[in-house]
């Protein structure tokens, strides 16, 4: 029975324009982010460029042909500045150098600009050294680089980018999906209550079965969207080349899925309980505030702690079940959290989810057949042993 209910939720909801649109936007967005990563990290060798050289710059020609990691230049000698400019116009050379000035067709290419200036400088140094009678060895000694050690008080933060990406998925995606799907579930509960169809449903199935089926159905769709986020993140992390992705970031990926599922159980049933207490969609906005605030608080703490995630609010919040679905994976992605703390937080969240299922179940059973004015929390709690009307 519970699967029949879950299936209806999945079928009707996945047909809705809102779901299709939201999933499509997510999918395209994640693909776009992954493609940008690929583009940034693509390494197809130095770029081919052509430098036009007029008379006076000839002594720099040899140096200019050397090239570097990024650029593979070809030097072409042109007779006059006028011919050079003509070739700039038709695009057969990228820059024109006459010993005095660099001429561009339009905006300078910064990499090429720097390269040409450096090369000219090198050539000039070599020429002046020769003029002064310095040997190659003297020159090398003169320009021997001074090696400086780098000490960073933050212990090296090259990983900040990947940590932030993982924390973004954990924090933002979890918050957004819990909020959106929690509201969907609440609206669904109100729809059944307001249309009175719930009375026929409850003549066939128990309230726990009905609620359970709805949570499973919508939870499945929410999980699909969460996995789109996670897949995007994993692809992004795999494409990162220069930086070793820290183990705790990889660990935060399955962790964020786990906390998402537990958080969904926790928040979705709370939203459903709120939905069962009101009789009209119009009352939903104010009724859902007590559930929305703690979730929002978790997101707020995460958002304001990006620069310095190692603070007390994040630490405490990653243990409190109201905020831990967002803050635990956020903290695990941003910092190296001791394993026992992860385990303790997960146990607290799992236990709280079980308690919330019970609590929300009581509220739901008592409230769902009550029509008229909004059921209060106190009223629902007092009558928890005496379900429905």
């Amino acid at each position: 029975m519970i699967w029949t209910i879950a299936r209806r939720e999945i079928v009707t909801r996945s047909r809705s324009k809102a779901f299709i649109g939201m999933t499509a936007v997510l999918f395209v967005g994640v693909i776009a982010v992954a493609l940008v990563q690929v583009f940034i990290n693509s390494d197809d060798g130095p770029r081919q460029v052509t430098i036009g050289l007029v008379g006076g710059g000839a002594e720099a020609g040899e140096t200019l042909e050397l090239g570097n990691d990024d650029l593979d230049p070809t030097v072409e000698v042109v007779d006059t500045v006028d011919t050079g400019e003509a070739r700039l116009q038709d695009g057969s050379i990228d820059v024109l150098f006459d010993g005095e000035a660099l001429t561009w067709k339009g905006l300078p290419d910064f990499a090429l600009d720097g390269y040409v200036r450096d090369s000219v400088q090198q050539a000039a140094f070599a020429q002046r050294a020769q003029d002064l009678g310095l040997s190659e060895a003297d020159l090398a000694a003169l320009f021997a680089p001074v090696e400086l050690d780098e000490v960073r008080l933050d212990g090296g933060d090259d990983e900040f980018g990947v940590r932030l990406a993982a924390a973004g998925v954990a924090g933002f995606a979890t918050f957004m999906l819990l909020q959106v799907w929690g509201s969907f579930l609440m609206m669904g509960v109100i729809e059944e209550k307001a249309s009175k169809v719930v009375e026929i449903l409850l003549s066939q199935v128990r309230p726990s079965t009905l609620l359970g089926g709805k949570v499973i159905g919508l939870g499945f769709l929410a999980l699909v969207q969460m996995l789109i986020f996670v897949a995007g993140l994993v692809v992004g992390l795999l494409l990162v080349q220069d930086i070793a992705v820290p183990g705790s970031v990889w660990g935060s990926v399955p962790l964020s899925v786990l906390t998402f599922l537990l958080g969904f159980g926790f928040y979705a049933t709370a939203y459903a309980a709120v939905g069962s207490m009101v009789s009209r969609q119009e009352d939903a906005t104010s009724a859902q505030l007590p559930v929305m605030f703690p979730l929002l608080a978790g997101y707020f703490i995460a958002a304001t702690s990006i620069g310095a995630p190692d603070n007390l609010a994040v630490t405490i919040g990653s243990f409190v079940p109201f905020t831990s679905p967002v803050l635990l994976p956020f903290r695990a992605a941003m910092l190296d959290v001791p394993l026992w703390q992860l385990a303790a937080s997960l146990v607290i969240l799992a236990a709280s989810t079980v308690l919330m299922l019970r609590f929300a179940g009581w509220i739901y059973r008592f409230s769902i057949l009550r029509t008229g004015s909004r059921v209060t929390w106190i009223e629902a709690w007092r009558n928890r042993r005496d379900p429905v009307l």
């Binding site: 029975m1 169809v197 719930v198 009375e199 026929i200 003549s203 009307l389």
Partner: protein, 314 residues
């Protein structure tokens, strides 16, 4: 009604439920045998809906037992029950066929079977052309038909219908009446509440009347009639009579040629007729039992219910 054992069908014994200070049902006994068709009557707030919800497990009784086929009614038995709540409800944005089949599945039918049964009822109820429409696009009358299909799709053995005739146009009411009678004839136990007492009188032999959560009367309508304190004497003269004062009873209407007199049960009918004959030549004399609505008003309408409670019938 088929003969059956004590345990056959639905039996409610000593059902009680209160909400805070409000007593909804107070020691109610009621039974619906297999194939029985019981009209469940009572003024608003008498406890009919609470009783029906208790049968369907939506109200936890404070006291009493509800059994089906001799065993306490459970989820299994409830899945073989069809229910039409007083406040109708369907998914507005779900297609008719899908919706009817969905409720069949909820009652434990396989999808294919549920779809086939849905199609059968949709055809029977003249909804074939609207099978692919959303419920919200249907007229009120058609929505009622879908509601009926939902309560019947899983071939229930017990039908609990709360005001099934409320809001039906005459055509739909006739369809409803025929289907209810047909289901009962097929062995389904039917308990239905209604304020349309003419329909109840026409449809079923037996009624249960409650008020203030307690049984007021139950049994065959014919027995309730003979137990009733009232009957009507109708006299028609061949020629207009100037004035006539009946020997006994209260005159209800008199238009010169026809008089209707309300007589008490122990009134001397023969003396009253003789008295009418003495007023002039009579062409027609009839002694009529009270109609169901009159019995109902007599039993529950006068305000001091508790003193008037009677046990009548089989």
């Amino acid at each position: 009604m088929r003969p059956g054992s004590e345990s056959d069908g639905l039996r409610i014994v000593d059902l009680a439920k209160r909400y805070g200070a409000v007593v909804a049902v107070d020691g109610l006994d009621l039974s619906v045998p297999r194939g029985g068709l019981i009209g469940f009557l009572g003024p608003n707030g008498a406890g009919k809906t609470t009783t029906m919800r208790a049968v369907l497990g939506m109200v936890r009784p404070d006291r009493g037992s509800i059994t089906w086929q001799g065993r306490p009614i459970d989820d299994d038995a409830r899945r073989r029950t069809g229910y039409m709540p007083q406040e109708r409800g369907l998914y507005a944005r779900m297609k008719v066929r899908e919706q009817v089949a969905y409720f069949g599945q909820l009652a434990g039918m396989r999808r294919r079977v549920a779809e086939a049964r849905a199609d059968a009822w949709i055809e029977r109820l003249d909804l074939t052309e609207r099978a692919g429409s959303m419920v919200q696009e249907l007229s009120g009358g058609n929505q009622q038909r879908v509601q009926l299909a939902v309560s019947l799709v899983h071939d229930p053995e017990l039908l609990v219908l709360d005001e099934p005739f409320a809001g039906l146009d005459p055509v739909a009411a006739e369809t409803m009446r025929r289907i209810i009678a047909e289901r009962a004839a097929a062995g389904v136990s039917v308990l239905f509440s209604s304020h349309q007492l003419d329909v109840v009188e026409d449809l079923c032999d037996e009624v249960v009347i409650i008020a203030d959560g307690q049984l007021v009367a139950s049994g065959l309508i014919t027995d309730l009639r003979s137990a009733s304190a009232t009957r009507w004497l109708r006299v028609r003269w061949t020629q207009p009579v100037e004035r006539w004062t009946p020997l006994e009873g209260v005159i209800e209407s008199f238009d010169g040629r026809t008089a209707v007199v309300r007589l008490d049960r122990d009134a001397d009918v023969a003396a009253s007729i003789a008295d009418a004959l003495s007023a002039g030549p009579v062409s027609e004399v009839a002694l009529e039992p009270p109609r169901l609505d009159e019995i109902f008003t007599e039993l529950v309408g006068s305000g001091h219910l508790r003193s008037k409670r009677t046990e009548a019938g089989s």
